[in-house]
């Protein structure tokens, strides 16, 4: 790397990087501090002399207690976890099989099917939520977790397939050819050789799919109606606001606690997540 004088490093590197980190992370700090701030401190106008933005002298667990005692937050957490896990599993199953077929097998229309998958990858959920809500009602799935477990794969499968296609292409073709000569059928070669070798790719796709389903909002908002069926993002939006009144303490506590599971999964598999993210934009 080509480097210059010390002051240049500060001006062109340390200061901008620090600013970036500060701005990108400040809202999370704000979530954290609000969660533990008592109401008395919370509702001080910003121009009041007692406004004390960055610290609290009387940390409290009241908001968190309220969340678990007075709201269905724990149910929402469980719902979100359940839906994200099952829909990720379904999407991985479909995506791995489809990715294998599209990247490794020769069959008519393989190319156009691949393009088709890429195009569905680009279909946003907001394009289809109204007719889909109708379909969910007709299938009698409304207000059940299955309405999400079955529809989340529509945006996760194209992503998983795309990622797995890229990964499978990087596994030498000779491995499965050798397995087939060794006496394995095509299916066995896939199950015993190619899929185990592709585990890092599967993990990347899985982590990424999990965070995407945890983040999903509009389907959950439209398909679920009873408070005890909701996911964290939807529950927080609809149940912690009464008319125009925002319960900021519990809201921020819910935002914090609702983020922790994804953040944990993410922190354990940062490298896989980044591989999934960058793999998803590679052609």
């Amino acid at each position: 790397m080509i480097e210059g004088a010390a002051w240049r490093r500060w001006v062109f590197f340390y200061i901008p990087l620090t600013l970036f980190v500060f701005v990108l992370l400040f809202p999370f700090y704000w979530m954290l501090i609000t969660t533990f701030r008592p109401d008395g401190e919370l509702y001080q106008p910003w121009n009041s002399p007692r406004y004390q933005p960055f610290w609290t002298s009387n940390p409290t667990l009241d908001h968190i207690k309220y969340l678990f005692a007075e709201t269905l937050f724990s149910a929402w957490l469980w719902n979100t976890m359940f839906i994200a896990t099952i829909s990720t599993a379904i999407s991985l199953f479909c995506g791995v099989l489809a990715g294998y077929a599209l990247s490794r097998l020769n069959f008519p229309f393989a190319g156009s099917l691949g393009t088709g998958i890429f195009v569905t990858y680009l279909v946003p959920q907001t394009l289809l939520f109204i007719p889909l809500a109708d379909i969910i009602r007709n299938f009698k799935l409304g207000d059940t977790p299955w309405s999400l477990v079955l529809t989340y794969p529509t945006f996760l499968i194209p992503f998983c397939t795309w990622l797995m296609m890229g990964y499978f292409k990087s596994v030498p073709k000779e491995l499965e050819e050798c397995a087939r000569i060794d006496g394995a059928s095509r299916l066995q070669a896939m199950l015993y050789i190619i899929i185990p070798v592709a585990v890092p790719g599967i993990l990347s796709a899985g982590i990424f799919a999990f965070t995407l389903s945890w983040n999903e909002f509009i389907y959950a908002l439209v398909f679920l109606s009873s408070p005890e069926q909701k996911t964290v993002p939807v529950g927080v939006t609809s149940e912690l606001i009464r008319g125009d009144v925002f319960f900021w303490g519990p809201l921020m506590a819910a935002a914090l606690l609702g983020s922790i599971p994804v953040a944990m999964v993410y922190s354990f598999f940062v490298e896989h997540y980044v591989a999934g993210l960058t793999g998803s934009v590679k052609g």
Binding site: E174, I181, G183
Partner: protein, 363 residues
């Protein structure tokens, strides 16, 4: 008995006709080598025998059974790949046992066979390791081991030594030869390296542009190449080709070049008569040229200028020009020649080759 017969085999990829009407018989216990430049169709042919590539037309028979439609798993063959294709998530033992497990052998027999193969290849201590912990040579041995535990009817090798460094390659070549002598399994071996082809093969198939150029024992290819391509491909350094015209002077036949003329031996004259007055290619191997000691008849000598000398220790390679024609001579290390010297070279008339300049076939 394991005999492989290939009949009128053709392979077409969309635009490319990769393999054209190949006919071959590979006998039981034979070590057959396919050699040729890249893209000549040798690997495609091998992959059709393996069942990894569909057959456009023609037939492959293993032991008198047409196997065209048989998937690779049912052909009872083993294959060693250029990149070894070791299963990275399995230990050496599991790599070798995989084929047996797929065929539902019982545990004890698997263990016994793997141990046997490991002893033969001297990889016993490596059985618990993963492929990534092995050196190139060790991986090569494991790949071989995986092939031999199965006791298949036919071994297929796809450039198995290309990824090894030069020294290891020579060593493994010898071991492969020993292994074949010991097991006696029919083998088909694909390589682009003519030295490997010559040293390993009982017979060698030379291919170019999807066509078989010549099939024969290594020395047969060396001594009696069927055409200019085989002559130039087999042997190192490659054969020299001098464009000449055949002329009848005073009742004897001369090959006349731009600045020299030589007399083909009487034994060849009969065959060459028909080409009198036509342009042909004279083929002389570098090792059949020497600096004359004056005793050679003038008909078999000509003058050339030294351009470059390459000292190899055991011999000297001289890059020369005789008129416009470049050539290489491999001469005794005692010869002292400097760049720019004019030398009189003699060739061995019994080892002269002549090729038709149009068809490139040997005359």
């Amino acid at each position: 008995m394991a005999q492989v017969v290939i009949r009128n085999l053709n392979k077409k990829f969309d635009e490319v006709h990769a393999v054209k009407d190949v006919n071959l018989q590979i006998n039981d216990k034979e070590f057959m080598v396919f050699v040729g430049p890249s893209g000549c169709g040798k690997t495609t042919t091998l992959r059709m025998v393996a069942g990894l590539e569909s057959i456009t037309s023609g037939e492959v028979l293993i032991n008198d059974t047409v196997v065209n439609e048989l998937p690779p798993m049912d052909r009872d063959i083993a294959m060693v790949f250029q990149n070894y294709a070791l299963y990275p998530h399995m230990s050496v033992y599991d790599n070798m046992a995989f084929g047996l497990k797929m065929r539902k052998f019982d545990k004890a027999e698997i263990a016994q066979r793997v141990q046997e193969a490991a002893d033969i290849l001297d990889i016993g201590p490596l059985l618990k390791r993963k492929p990534r912990q092995l050196s190139g040579g060790q991986r090569q041995r494991v790949a071989l081991g995986r092939a031999i535990v199965r006791h298949p009817q036919v071994f297929l090798f796809d450039e198995p030594l290309s990824n090894l460094d030069a020294k290891l390659r020579v060593q493994m070549r010898v071991e492969l030869k020993k292994l074949h002598n010991r097991l006696g399994t029919t083998a088909i071996y694909v390589t682009h390296d003519q030295v490997e082809a010559m040293t390993l093969g009982d017979r060698v198939v030379v291919m170019k542009d999807g066509l078989v150029q010549q099939v024969g024992a290594p020395l047969e290819l060396y001594n009696r190449p069927a055409n200019r391509f085989v002559a130039g491909f087999i042997g190192s350094p490659a054969m020299n080709f001098l464009p000449v015209t055949l002329a009848d002077t005073d009742g004897s036949l001369w090959a006349v070049g731009p600045e020299f003329r030589v007399k083909p031996p009487a034994a060849m004259a009969g065959r060459l008569r028909g080409h009198t007055g036509k342009a042909v290619l004279l083929g002389i191997r570098p090792e059949d040229l020497r600096v004359t000691n004056g005793a050679d008849p003038a008909d078999h000598t000509f003058e050339a200028t030294v351009e470059v000398t390459e000292q190899l220790g055991s011999e000297i390679l001289l890059d020369l020009t005789a008129g416009p024609a470049p050539m290489v001579a491999s001469v005794e290390p005692t010869v002292t020649a400097k760049v720019g010297d004019r030398l009189r070279l003699a060739f061995n008339p019994d080892r002269l080759h002549v090729f038709d300049s149009q068809t490139e076939a040997s005359i």
